[in-house]
């Protein structure tokens, strides 16, 4: 971008400074929460006395540990199912024109555009009505539905950027369709599939609203457990577990950014 050098320096400088302020705003509460997780006072009283007592307390908090195990298990199963289903659908959408293609694209919109409150409550109604009920399986149904659009978009973008030329070349050189798929399509797709899988994991691991409506008493995920703890009254243990969750989420996003460029061309 050559022209930006011609912009008056003062304006450019103040805009950059402003960008820094925005980043400060984005990270301020997260930083405060993390600092408070290491404060001894259970009432968030100042001054801060450094202590890891709340992290140690986590080891005895079986409700949170169980919820954490549920969250991770759910996210893993969700990742496997959503990545498999989504990659297959993305392949079909990238390689074939078929009737019902638009319908499938249309079905992908609600999970991203309609508020999760509406989706979550309608799943609750439906699942209760036809006997699926609430529980791990119901949450899995919901999480996969939310993850599918991300998987299809991410894998689809990867496939689109490569086109069908390589596969056609393989076919011309005498490869069977299966060989062409194994030796050409799979390696081409791989980075997209990895990014999509990480997205699916993140979507499920961070999902609160859907889980909240589909979690029966006794089977909850970390966000659901944290929500009920917050509503019952503050406990600094929640800061400790929240600190861990934020770090896990951010590590996931950093991993994704190695495979997937946010915001397209730069």
């Amino acid at each position: 971008m050559k022209a930006s050098t011609k912009v008056p320096g003062l304006l450019s400088l103040s805009l950059r400074l402003y960008l820094g302020l925005v980043l400060f705003f984005l990270y301020l509460p997260i930083a405060v929460m993390m600092i408070m997780a290491f404060n001894r006072s259970s009432l968030y009283l100042l001054p801060i006395e450094f202590d890891t007592v709340w992290f140690e307390a986590l080891a005895d908090n079986w409700r949170l540990i169980d919820a954490g195990v549920n969250s991770v298990a759910l996210a893993i199963v969700n990742t496997v199912v959503a990545t498999a289903l989504g990659t297959a659908a993305a392949l079909a959408m990238a390689r074939y024109r078929f009737r019902g293609r638009t319908l499938l694209q249309l079905l992908l919109f609600p999970p991203i555009t309609i508020p999760w409150l509406i989706i979550g409550t309608s799943m609750l109604v439906m699942f209760f009505w036809i006997g699926i009920g609430r529980g791990f399986h119901a949450m899995l149904l919901g999480h996969v539905a939310l993850s599918l659009p991300y998987v299809i978009v991410v894998v689809g973008a990867r496939l689109k950027s490569f086109g069908t030329g390589l596969e056609e070349a393989a076919a011309t050189l005498g490869a069977t369709p299966w060989q062409a798929f194994r030796r050409v399509s799979v390696p081409v797709m791989a980075p997209g599939v990895v990014a999509a899988a990480l997205f699916a994991f993140a979507v499920s691991f961070d999902q609160f609203v859907i889980s909240y409506f589909l979690a029966p008493p006794g089977v909850s995920t970390l966000p659901v457990e944290i929500y009920s703890s917050i509503r019952k009254g503050f406990t600094p243990e929640i800061n400790a577990i929240s600190t861990i969750i934020i770090l896990v989420s951010m590590a996931l996003m950093l991993a994704i950014s190695r495979f997937y460029r946010f915001g397209g061309e730069r």
Binding site: M1, A3, S12, L15, Y18, L19, V22, L23, F25, L26, L28, P29, V32, M33, I35, M36, Y44, L46, L85, A88, A89, A92, Y96, F98, L104, L107, L108, I114, P115, W116, L117, I118, I119, T121, S122, M123, V125, M126, W129, A145, L148, I152, A202, F205, F208, F213, I226, I230, I238, S242, I245, S249, M250, M253, L254, S257, F262, G263, G264, R266
Partner: protein, 288 residues
């Protein structure tokens, strides 16, 4: 099997699982919810519900629900406007005044919190906005005479939390349309003697309008359907919204048909907004 049949089997095999899954989890539930919203009671445990319009009638005529709807829309507007005012200049800085590695790093820094747990981020504001908390003390240390920051459990706290949650959306969508602007247009205007302000008003702003609109819709829609943020940050006064009332109907009061009618009223508003913005949204999302 000929080639055409084989192709058909391949398409069916590849897409059928995703289809079925989405029909079972999105289409059928929304249909079930619509059906429930016209029933006098939930058809569980052998009860015999009757069709009724009473839920929608009370939503559309009772002051309480009109007021709740208005409060939700108002919250959507407040949050969206704040996001535009804060996010657009940031996008402008990112697209036109930061380059190369720096831009990449900034980009990642903006996306990172956006993709981390929304509940945890909302919770983190309860510690940031409390009176005599870390931030409150820091402010008083810098400016001794300031009034206390104590806005936790009020409507402003909800707005702050939601702006924090959705600001990256606005920055990203505006950034996408800003960086797509053809540099030669701006150069041409400059050569012809247009001052910086005119270049912005006549070229940059109009060309980035689609991104601005996409961000507006992507923020407004989830905000009017939010319930967790108002619950955690709003206290009693700041949490009376359509979203929190729907949550209550399903988790506490167990009047599912009425909750379904409320959900569908919200969905109708959402669909109206999405329908109006669809042509613009499609264009921006394609470039993204």
């Amino acid at each position: 099997m000929n080639a055409d049949q084989r192709r058909r089997v391949a398409v069916l095999g590849l897409t059928a699982p995703a289809y079925l899954w989405l029909v079972l989890t999105i289409f059928l539930p929304l249909s079930a919810m619509l059906y429930f919203s016209f029933l006098t009671e939930a058809p569980f445990g052998g009860r015999q519900p009757v069709a009724t319009l009473a839920h929608y009638r009370s939503i559309l005529t009772k002051d309480l629900y009109l007021d709740l709807t208005w409060r939700s829309l108002r919250m959507g507007m407040d949050v969206t406007i704040a996001c535009i005012l804060l996010g657009y200049p940031a996008a402008l800085a990112l697209a036109r005044h930061v380059k190369g590695r720096w831009r990449e790093a900034m980009f990642l820094l903006i996306v990172l919190p956006f993709w981390s747990n929304a509940l945890v981020r909302t919770f983190s504001w309860t510690m940031t906005l409390r009176g005599d908390g870390l931030v409150d003390r820091a402010i008083h240390w810098v400016v001794p005479g300031m009034p206390s920051l104590d806005i936790l459990f009020s409507y402003p706290a909800v707005v702050v939390g939601l702006v924090h949650a959705y600001l990256p959306y606005m920055i990203l969508t505006c950034y996408v349309s800003l960086q797509a602007i053809d540099e030669s247009l701006i150069e041409a205007a400059r050569v012809l003697g247009a001052p910086g302000r005119t270049v912005f008003r006549r070229i940059v702003l109009p060309l980035s309008l689609p991104g601005l609109l996409a961000g507006t819709v992507l923020i407004f829609v989830p905000v009017i359907g939010s319930f967790m943020e108002p619950r955690i940050l709003g206290g009693v006064a700041g949490s009376a919204m359509l979203g929190t009332v729907i949550e209550e109907q399903f988790t506490r009061i167990f009047n599912w048909p009425f909750g379904a009618a409320l959900s569908f009223t919200l969905l109708a508003i959402v669909l109206l907004i999405l329908g109006l913005a669809a042509p613009f949204l499609r264009r921006t999302l394609r470039t993204a």
